[in-house]
């Protein structure tokens, strides 16, 4: 059913197209098989357009029916509404209805505004990312450290040469050699630093596989349609419908694995699945069924979707790859890790079919624990899947995964939210305190120093231990999206959700009175998003 906002966009669009075709209302009404008065009501948003009437009007206006569905206009309206809600940009006087009117009556101005907001957000995001990088990039840190050490040696030598008059010739020669060697090393270190700031490197250079994966997914807005389609076809071929239980999925996947001439061994005593040889999977009965299923899905898709995954990966490997990133070297660890991430995406899609997962996620207010339990997957998989939903009308969630030391294990960003790439995160985020409590999801509203508010959902989990004696590895996940979405899907008042004044990292946060401060801020004021 078309939303009320979309509906309001259709009338002006019909009028605009009719006017462009130089048709009178009477002429268009006749073409569409309706009365002139009814068309007038439609153009003034007094009557809905759907079903056969939508088809008839689209044909009469010689446009694609999607142009009358208002989907593109809805997306534009949503973008403008978000911008209006941003404390750095908008005004409390602006409403979504205002956005809809702008889109309906002045679509080009609306698109211009949306593009300007997107460009501003991109610049602000780059500013924060570069600032974060200045504070923590190991390449920069090492280069600066080396330069200071070289300069210390040159300075000390120069002071000696200036102050000591009776140096033996060989000692004098030795000190001159030190100056020469240290100057050469200083040149190398400064060259390294200069390369970091080369103007041709206009975007953040990935430092780790984690960065490469995050960048690749961000370019795709965290969704891989080709792999989604391939998985959908596979589920259909294996007769796995949306209601399939875990046991049915296990049987279907195991059957397909064996149909490829491969083996499954369930006799092992290990607590986790493994692949002892390329043709054999060990899915021990002692391991949780969900763990075995996830592993089987991963290994099966690694084989049956190999071509599709390589196609996806090839866009990152070619010399003409994404213009905003250096191409990955074929066979490099980063390329291997990215391939694995694409396969993992497909496995998540197999176990959590998009449409059903989206509906459940919205119904359950994105409760990660409930979603994980319902689809019998681990929290990590549910968290990853939640980041893909923005294309279905759900909020665009960014994701962060950490271990108990705060080390980042996985990361996804969105246009509106980016997790810190370098340095320690903010200790006030619930993702860190999640380790202290039970494994239930916790909501939190984070108020950034810029006034921006994020709605976050954090949860800790224990991954399967490798043996009965081994302590299970603990991880925590956090999903974040602008707080404007917090009450959108449940209609509930979010006043009960704890709110905290926090930041991104200590170095980027100006809150001088924070009890958790662990480093001095490097900026007195934060501009843009932080």
């Amino acid at each position: 059913m078309v939303s009320a906002v979309r509906q309001r966009l259709i009338g002006p669009r019909v009028r605009a197209r009719r006017t462009a075709l130089e048709l009178t209302q009477a002429a268009l009404a006749e073409r569409a098989g309706i009365s002139t008065s009814y068309l007038n009501l439609i153009e003034n948003n007094k009557r809905p357009v759907a079903g056969r009437l939508q088809i008839a009007l689209a044909e009469a206006l010689d446009i694609d029916i999607s142009a009358l569905s208002g989907a593109a206009e809805q997306q534009l309206t949503d973008a403008l509404s978000l911008a209006a809600a941003d404390p750095a940009l908008g005004s409390a006087a602006l409403t979504p209805a205002d956005a809809a009117e702008l889109v309906g009556h002045y679509p080009e101005w609306a698109r211009l505004t949306a593009r300007a907001v997107a460009a501003y957000r991109e610049q602000a995001s780059q500013t924060v990312a570069l600032t974060d990088r200045l504070a923590h990039d190991p390449v920069i840190a090492n280069a600066v450290h080396q330069m200071l050490t070289n300069i210390a040696a040159v300075r000390s030598t120069a002071e000696i040469l200036t102050s000591v008059q009776d140096l033996p010739p060989e000692q004098l020669q030795r000190f001159h050699a030190i100056i020469e060697e240290q100057s050469s090393a200083l040149t190398d270190a400064s060259g390294t630093l200069a390369a970091v700031f080369d103007p041709t490197n206009t975007h953040l250079r990935p430092v780790t596989s984690l960065d490469v994966i995050e960048d690749a997914f961000a370019r795709r807005q965290n969704r891989l349609p080709a792999l989604e389609d391939a998985v959908t076809h596979l589920r259909a071929r294996l007769h796995i419908d949306a209601e399939a239980t875990g046991a049915i999925i296990d049987q279907a996947l195991a059957g397909h694995w064996k149909s490829l001439g491969l083996k499954i061994d369930s006799t092992g005593t290990a607590m986790v699945p493994s692949q002892p040889s390329p043709s054999t999977l060990s899915l021990p009965r002692a391991a949780p069924a969900a763990t075995n299923r996830a592993f089987l899905a991963l290994k099966l898709l690694e084989r049956v979707l190999a071509n599709q995954v390589e196609t996806e990966l090839s866009g990152e490997l070619t010399p003409d790859g994404p213009s905003d990133a250096p191409p990955l070297a074929i066979g490099s660890p980063a390329a291997t890790d990215l391939r694995a991430a694409f396969v993992q995406y497909a496995a998540d899609a197999l176990l959590m079919p998009y449409g059903a997962f989206l509906a459940d996620a919205v119904a359950w207010r994105f409760d990660i624990a409930m979603l994980a339990a319902s689809y019998d997957v681990d929290v990590a998989a549910a968290a990853r899947r939640l980041t893909t939903l923005q294309h279905g009308g759900a909020p665009a969630f960014a994701m962060l995964a950490v271990n108990p030391s705060g080390a980042r294990l996985d990361r996804r960003r969105t246009t509106d939210v980016a997790m810190p790439r370098f340095g320690a995160g903010c200790a006030l985020w619930a993702i860190h305190s999640a380790f202290n409590g039970t494994e239930r999801a916790r909501e939190q509203i984070i108020e950034m120093p810029t006034g921006e508010r994020l709605w976050t959902i954090a949860i800790a989990m224990s991954a399967p231990g490798k043996s009965a004696d081994a302590a299970p590895p603990r991880r925590a996940y956090m999903l974040a999206t602008p707080a404007i979405h917090a009450g959108t899907f449940s209609g509930e008042d979010t006043g009960h959700v704890p709110s905290v004044a926090a930041g991104i990292t200590c170095e980027l946060c100006p809150r001088g009175d924070c009890a958790y401060r662990a480093a001095a801020p490097i900026l007195a004021e934060i501009t843009g998003k932080a």
Binding site: I151, A153, E159, V164, I178
Partner: protein, 121 residues
């Protein structure tokens, strides 16, 4: 009696320059190229002062500082922390861990010598 100074620093030229300066001032210098070597020196000798670079391989200057303060023989050893990382956090960490002075690179030779004299070495 000649006073001894342990210099733990992984940049050989810095070691050479500090050794030249200190020996001209009448000190005897023992050099360690990394944190592990510095701990070995502390295990076997009792220097009168130590200069520890923070960023070293095989144990940082902070690791050596911590071990020294846990050793009854060295709990009062005057220790200078030397580092290219002059951030406030490093300075505070050094003092909290029991260092007696903090010198940031690039240093002045006179500052180094004045600090040694101030610490009574």
């Amino acid at each position: 009696m000649t006073k001894t100074v342990l210099i733990a620093e992984d940049e050989p030229h810095i070691v050479e320059l500090l050794t030249f300066l200190l020996e001209r001032e009448g000190y005897a210098v023992t050099a360690a190229a990394d944190g592990e070597a510095a701990l070995t020196v502390l295990a076997n000798t009792t220097p009168d002062l130590a200069v520890l670079d923070v960023m070293m391989l095989k144990q940082s200057g902070f690791d050596v500082l911590r071990e020294a303060r846990n050793d009854p023989r060295h709990k009062d050893l005057p220790i200078i922390i030397l580092t290219a990382r002059g951030q406030t956090r490093d300075r505070e960490t050094a003092i909290e861990m029991g260092a007696d002075a903090f010198i940031a690179k690039p240093f002045s030779n006179q500052d180094v010598l004045a600090t040694l004299r101030r610490l009574g070495a």
